[in-house]
Symmetry: C2
Subunit: 386 residues, 2 copies
């Protein structure tokens, strides 16, 4: 069986997280992703977050190439002529100043799809600003929905949401214009802003704002929808929002009589009594272990589940049954636990075939394609161009 | 200019959020998305979250069709023969029991791409369980990284992350196998699990776990990377992780002397002094307004930004400059503020052309394509089939 994107060549100039997550997904789906790295240093993630670098750069190749050197530029342009996609995440204008902007590269390869991932997009008020995940969360409004229900905004989840969602939006953009290219024969330029991606998610709030009352407070305090502590000092989740689930939950917890009044007969009304309802639920849930409650709730088809910590994931029955964690043999770290590509295709593979490449590991293989001999490559290396 | 996915026909059986977000992205990119809804009730979101329904179903068409009725099934199968993609989010096995599973539909249309979005996937230990966003967050491990740095897990952000990321993964899967179809001529089945998508994000933690110490505590408490309150009781974000930004931040806040020791000279070391460092930064930031600090920090190229609340978004200079919020005229709510498609393509449109459809609004248009007359449709309506 083949992979869905077999045969597509991606030149990857990105570093750290958002771009490499995008190209990891592309590589898992079969693209030949060639990291183009600065000779000597390479992707900063190699030293900054070496284990995450290893996991996020599996299935990729690496060449070292100095894009500031005229000969390095020439080689890059020759590679562009043979590639489908190029992805970069420099601040706007950097590639153009190197003479390698979309305008120039398009002339070399009109089928090229040029994708750039940035914090604030290629135009607009903040285009030239530096930024990190936390800043994009703030501008997008997502941070105002974070923290505790009644507290000030604070990063409520230790996960680089802006980075990862942007990597995914980049994949979406690339694949959409790839489809269009089948018809037009032409590539195009894709401007991915991490902040704009988060704004798209804010579409779950913005339209309602000004029409009905919306706040993180009400969304976070829905009774029967949350995290509860159990007798054995573990945590479980319950997601009993709809009346059918709510009524089952109350019955199971023997709380139906206590909360049978009209003031509790819709999920909207229940939010007004969130504290007393959630306290009563929590008190009951403290009387049994997590294991016991999950068995009871599952038998009743009440949405529930464990709160898995990092230690729990590898042996979690769900994670095991879906074969989500794959042990990859890596040169630097030995067997490393990585997460497989998250979709299952019926007629396409998404394997982890190779660990992350060493810096410049594929110089020979890739540069020979554009006509260089081993001797040429040795000489370029001596001169610091590769 | 055309849209990237013009000409592709999508039959959308999904409801509520994850599926409709997927098909909203597809519709914004030009797919003809036809919602297939139960006569009378339709997508529950129409009554449960009517404004969000409106926003997330823009650019789509709607037909009413009773899939439990033999004649309804026949009509559905005729539509399948003319479609590229079908998306559903029922519990596993529901479509097969209706005689409309992938196996059957594939015989009608071998090019069909069949995508199903579920909480726990089509196979595996939890396949038959009901669930909500909070439960998927718990199983995936993401919830254990939520809450405050030192507190128990709690939903740290009032955003349905599992739903939205799953919608995006579904788009990725569909577009990837669409590319493959250009070569093989065949569609395929795509199994999207909301939990598996979140697990993919846990790939930023899992590989490190067991090799180095990783916890939400250290990630949430990085000094100089967080939310700070200002003199005018607003909040700003600062993202000064790297030494170059950190040193600029300290200098700007006149804290360089106080924290010049070796114990502060790397971001790893600084985490050990997170509390005192963040307190000192917070104290300084309380001495000026948000506007003043953002101007000062931006002049120094220190990553920073406002913390926008829902009220702020519409007039935020960034949001305005990127034209992220679009006023859409809707029949039920008048002008509604929606968020545009988050990517910018150089040669493809992503417009909002139409508000959400009324239930069955496109019965005539769509059913005539499969040979029905107006009289036929009237008769089917009388009999409750459409």
């Amino acid at each position: 069986m083949a992979a869905s994107l077999d045969g597509l060549v991606v030149l990857d100039l990105t570093r750290l997280l958002p771009g490499p997550y995008c190209t990891m997904l592309l590589a898992d789906m079969g693209c030949e992703v060639i990291k183009i790295e600065q000779p000597g240093t390479g992707d900063y993630a190699r030293t900054l977050i070496p284990i995450i670098f290893e996991a996020f750069n599996r299935n990729k190749k690496s060449i070292s190439l100095n894009l500031k050197h005229p000969e390095g530029k020439d080689l890059f342009v020759k590679l562009i002529a043979q590639s489908d996609i190029v992805i970069e995440s420099f601040r706007p204008g950097v590639m153009a100043r190197l003479g390698l902007g979309y305008k120039e590269l398009q002339k070399v390869n009109n089928r090229l799809i040029y994708c750039v991932i940035s914090g604030y997009g290629q135009d607009g008020a903040y285009a030239k600003r530096s930024g990190h995940d936390i800043n994009y969360l703030g501008v997008s409004g997502l941070l105002s929905l974070s923290g505790s229900a009644d507290g000030p905004p604070s990063p409520g989840v230790a996960m680089p949401i802006a980075d990862l969602s942007a990597g995914m939006f980049a994949v979406i953009g690339i694949l959409a214009v790839l489809h269009m290219r089948h018809k037009t024969g032409e590539g195009q330029f894709i401007d991915v802003s991490m902040t704009d991606g988060l704004l798209s998610w804010m579409g779950t709030y913005l339209p309602e704002h000004g029409h009905i009352e919306v706040s993180k407070r009400t969304k976070m305090r829905r009774p029967g929808n949350g995290v509860y502590r159990t007798k054995d000092d573990k945590f479980i989740t319950v997601g009993a929002v709809e009346d059918i689930f709510w009524n089952k939950l109350l019955a199971t917890l023997q709380l139906s009589d206590q909360f049978s009044g009209q003031e509790y007969d819709s999920s909207t009304k229940r939010i007004e009594h969130a504290e007393s309802l959630n306290n009563a639920i929590q008190e009951k849930i403290l009387t049994r272990t997590a294991h016991e409650w999950l068995e009871i709730f599952n038998n009743q088809d009440i949405p529930c589940g464990p709160v898995n910590f990092l230690d729990d994931l590898e042996s979690d029955p769900y994670v095991v049954s879906r074969e989500l964690i794959v042990e990859v043999n890596t040169p630097s770290w030995g067997p490393l636990k990585e997460v497989r590509f998250p979709l299952k295709f019926s007629k396409a593979t998404t394997e982890i075939k190779n660990p992350a490449p060493a810096l410049g590991e594929h110089n020979q293989e890739i540069l020979q394609r554009i006509g260089l001999s081993s001797g040429d490559i040795r000489e370029l290396k001596r001169r610091g161009i590769v």
